[in-house]
């Protein structure tokens, strides 16, 4: 983390999806999946992005990978603005940013042998072929805890945890700087999940990788992240280091989210569980003002009209809530309803 230039920087990223309807398939609306997101990740750092279904966390990941074209904003990879790069231009930068998916099985060709899957990027980028490639693949297999003998196997012959190791080996093959990991352990059982999380941490420390780690699981987040961004309906509502986030959350949504998660300790009596009313509104019709005001226990009249900006209200602690202005004390808010 000595390098000052962030490995990945995102400024005011916006991704809208048009909704088409009617007989002529005219655009009838817009899903504001990502609505102005800004963050940066340094070498060797994990930025966790947490939020519930439809908050836009996966869209952030896909847009950063340029699998989706951003509607507006900037994406900088190692200081280079790649926002408007064509797929051809992007190709040379593709090596720097790789991804690990939730379900590696659906992202791998079932007719290819495991060794070929992991070695494919090496060949694509002209990094190695033939025997040199096989040797590199074998060492990648070993690095992620798979036996090189398994290179001849097909993906269906692997367990879920082993497949995720394959996915990680493939991402590592081209020596990237940034890895976007979208729910990489959500499909795994706890005992296997621990193996994969440990591997991800080891690899990060060894290769100084920057992780954009997307997950809905708060325990996993607290374990692997250095800093965490909480998203709600396309916007980051809070961003700070993980200890501060978990011990002194400032945004009412973060507070509710943390209080809602079941804790595996019956002896720990929770202070109070905040049960949010209703469901997350549709990102096609987000509420006016603060998107969270419809469910927020502390909402005041202005929350319906004022768009809260993400401000650094305390050192290293960004919050988008008009009830938490710059220089806020951390005292609990008084419910208004």
């Amino acid at each position: 983390m000595s390098d000052d230039k962030p490995s990945l920087e995102v400024r005011n990223l916006v991704k809208h999806f048009p909704i088409h309807g009617g007989l002529l398939q005219r655009q009838t609306g817009t899903v504001r999946a990502v609505d102005g997101v800004t963050f940066s990740i340094r070498r060797g750092e994990t930025l966790g992005v947490v939020g519930e279904s439809g908050c836009g966390k996966s869209t952030v990941g896909k847009t950063v990978l340029k699998l989706l074209e951003p509607t507006a904003g900037e994406i900088l990879l190692d200081g280079v603005d790649v926002t408007d790069f064509s797929p051809g231009q992007m190709w040379s930068h593709r090596r720097q940013i790789q991804t690990v998916f939730q379900d590696p099985y659906s992202s791998m060709n079932p007719r290819m042998r495991a060794g070929d899957i992991v070695g494919e990027p090496l060949e694509n980028f002209g990094l190695a072929r033939g025997k040199a490639k096989d040797e590199q693949v074998a060492s990648l297999f070993q690095r992620v805890g798979l036996r090189p003998e398994n290179m001849r196997k097909f993906t269906h012959e692997f367990s879920g945890g082993q497949r995720q190791r394959l996915g990680i080996a493939k991402a590592l093959a081209v020596n990237p700087e940034v890895i976007v990991a979208d729910e990489p352990v959500s499909a795994l059982d706890v005992s296997v999940q621990a193996q994969v999380l440990n591997l991800l941490i080891d690899l990060q420390e060894e290769y100084k990788l920057a992780y954009l780690f997307i997950s809905h699981d708060l325990g996993v987040m607290r374990h692997i992240s250095h800093r965490i961004a909480v998203m709600y309906l396309g916007r980051v509502v809070e961003l700070t280091d993980k200890r501060t986030l978990f011990t002194r959350p400032l945004h009412p949504y973060t507070e509710a989210l943390l209080s809602a998660a079941p804790v595996p300790d019956p002896a720990r009596k929770r202070a109070r569980r905040i049960i949010l009313p209703g469901d997350v509104p549709s990102p096609a019709k987000p509420p006016s003002g603060c998107h969270f005001h419809t469910r927020c226990p502390y909402a005041i009249a202005e929350c319906k009209t004022v768009d809260p900006k993400l401000l650094e209200v305390a050192p290293g602690h960004q919050v988008a809530c008009i009830r938490r202005p710059v220089g806020t004390d951390f005292a609990p808010l008084t419910p208004t309803q």
Binding site: A194, H216, D217, L218, R222, P266
Partner: protein
């Protein structure tokens, strides 16, 4: 008083690869009004245990090969399908993980709930609909009267799960089996549903079997826990006792493998490593003569692979199937 007694249950599936011993000799009791959690990872047999109780194992693929399931003293394993239908949705009902797949997409919410009520309680259709509306209000669905005419696809995931609960409780069951009822839901919605289930349980006084992989859900909802591994019960205790003194090496491994959201796992400024359980679950088509967990267990000896450990009560009300409980507890102390 015990409402459900499961004794030495064996449920097997017959596949091309051989006989899968999905439930391999499981016994437990459930008291009236009690919540019992059955916890374990994929393939441990927790869901098959639930399906066995309701006799929902598909005859083409598998069956209960031996054992007994007594509900209010009545043996369920020998009932006819017709007799079972009188019990399902009436005395015993079930909530599934994915409500969309268990709701009928072409029938309105009201019809689906009323149908069940009319069938089991023999009331008129109008009374059935009234009950349906009552139930929707009970599960806190706003504007219940209008919702009766809506279809499942018009509801959000959380609402659908509320409808499932309304349907399950409409005939005032004595036993509710909930199979991962909140796993598909977001955290804040999960909190709503768990809260609702606990509140309704008090009102209706039903016993609950909560099937889950999530020790957090166990800690917050259950009174007693059965831990399953590879089709077998490996440990059982009250919730407080299990979390304070886990005795089976698998339970202990599971608890240490969870990344905690209430604790900073850091050692000297670095992120601590999670405790891994090495290897993976055994294949259930091969008979396992010893302890099924032995290949992954740090305490395992030759005896463990050769001889199946019996369930022993090592502390009051706390049983575990392990040959080396004394060593496990010694290490914990």
């Amino acid at each position: 008083m015990s409402i459900l007694q499961v004794r030495d249950l064996h449920t097997q599936f017959f596949t091309q690869d051989g006989v899968v011993r999905a439930v391999d000799g499981v016994s437990f009791d459930l008291d009236q009004g009690e919540t019992l959690a059955i916890v374990g990872e994929s393939g441990c047999g927790k869901s098959v245990t639930a399906m066995s109780i309701l006799r929902l194992i598909q005859a083409e693929t598998g069956r209960i090969v031996s054992g007994s399931i007594k509900f209010e003293g009545r043996e369920l394993t020998t009932l006819t399908e017709e007799q079972m239908r009188g019990i399902r949705g009436h005395d015993i009902s079930m909530i599934f993980q994915e409500p969309m797949t268990s709701l009928n997409p072409v029938l309105t919410i009201g019809t689906q709930i009323a149908e069940n009520v009319v069938r089991h309680l023999g009331v008129s259709w109008q009374e059935g609909l009234n009950r349906a509306q009552e139930m929707l209000e009970l599960v806190k669905i706003s504007d219940a009267k209008r919702r009766l005419d809506e279809y499942p696809h018009q509801l959000s995931g959380g609402m659908r799960q509320r409808v499932m609960i309304a349907m399950a409780l409409a005939c005032r069951p004595k036993l509710l089996i909930a199979d991962e009822p909140t796993t598909a839901l977001d955290v804040t919605i999960q909190a709503q549903i768990l809260d609702l289930m606990l509140e309704l349980k008090e009102k209706i006084d039903a016993a609950i079997v909560m099937i889950t992989h999530d020790l957090g859900v166990v800690a917050e909802t259950a009174q007693r826990v059965v831990v399953m591994y590879a089709g077998r019960k490996v440990e059982e205790a009250t919730v407080g006792e299990l979390f304070a003194h886990p005795m089976h090496p698998y339970t202990r491994g599971l608890m240490r493998a969870i990344p905690r959201l209430d604790i900073d796992a850091e050692a000297e400024g670095r992120r601590a490593r999670l405790q891994e359980i090495p290897g993976m679950v055994p294949v259930l088509t091969q008979p396992i003569p010893g302890c099924a967990f032995a290949p992954r267990c740090p305490f395992a000896t030759e005896k463990c692979t050769a001889e199946r450990p019996p369930l022993v009560e090592n502390r009051p009300g706390h049983i575990a199937a392990c040959w080396h409980t004394d060593r496990v507890l010694e290490q914990a102390a």
